[in-house]
Assembly symmetry: C2
Homo-oligomer: 226 residues x 2
Amino acid sequence: MISMLLADSELELVPREIVGYPAVRLNARKRNKSPAKSILDASLHHSAMRALPMGDRRGRPDIVHVFLLVALESVLNRVGQLRVYIHTRNNEMITIDPTTRIPKNYPRFVGLMESLFEKGSVPEREPLIVMQRDRDIGACIGEIPHEKVILLSPKGRRVRLSDYVKECDNALFILGGFPKGEFISDVLSEADDTISIYEESLSVWTVASEILVNYENHVLEASAPS
Amino acid sequence: MISMLLADSELELVPREIVGYPAVRLNARKRNKSPAKSILDASLHHSAMRALPMGDRRGRPDIVHVFLLVALESVLNRVGQLRVYIHTRNNEMITIDPTTRIPKNYPRFVGLMESLFEKGSVPEREPLIVMQRDRDIGACIGEIPHEKVILLSPKGRRVRLSDYVKECDNALFILGGFPKGEFISDVLSEADDTISIYEESLSVWTVASEILVNYENHVLEASAPS
């Protein structure tokens, strides 16, 4: 079993500073949403986001979406050996039940996240996705059972994952949920090890699938009859 | 080096039979597109699609999108060891240059596919994605250099990929680009081997990442100093 935590994910509602911008209002109206209850999306709110601090990296629900599709549909998750969590730039912690079927359609996923921000959990009857507020990265790590914390970073020590995962039972892997730049949370001081798997930076779902497949191979080998 | 061909992908323009449906016209108008030049999308055109043969599986550009994000952003592609092709239900063949940066945003990806269907290649100046018409699955396979053809199917012989990929240099892997049901093309007669990697059916990007990571491990091991 391993856990994955997507840290400093660029998932948030449209910030108050830009709810009044014409592009933001127009897009919200098209979707019959109030601007303040809409998920910030760089592809829609690009011009308004220039007014935001770090506006060139924010508003990326698409990264969270593809990460969740890759993680939750993985063989490792199917065999019950994975737990997945999202930490956002505003210190929300999102816990996702392993049986959750994430909408494959992007606009539907965005709609689901808007419900989550509004209601705190979805779906209403039997919540599979739950959001807790005021959870900085240390608090998130504290709530996730683990034996060690492994941070993925292009600056980490280069390892070969197929070997490395053999020592990763019950590890918590932390990956960055943002398109560029550095972690804004102090993840480095929380990590027992900081590793890199390639010479250049990779999409987070690429890093995730490298971990998922290599750890699955390890689990299968360990459980195979000798 | 390996190749991947997504076969019978559910990627097509809105078929003539349903261009006049109110939901189709409304959605096209919202996007300033003519209905006939819009990509069929099950999440938008659901009700109209009931009028189409096999309407319960068509209109899934989202599957092609996530597959391409996983394949083209993989380490295997970064090191130049992957070629990726899409075959559609209407026998178009789409060849994607390995350096292509697929839009991560889904609406933008759909827009790119609409340009591709209209112009035959995108981007205009230096085409990275090229579509050829009248290419059935046999013709696609004929145009892709390969030593053997390996079909992924839940009905195939169960293999352990970490071992199996050792014999896959220059193989062409065929995966299904549809959400349910069977291949509509006669892929079985084209395959040198038909394999399965899990007891239940998996998302195509899960199958792709299993192949990508295991083959990458094989390439790295083969090239490592002993």
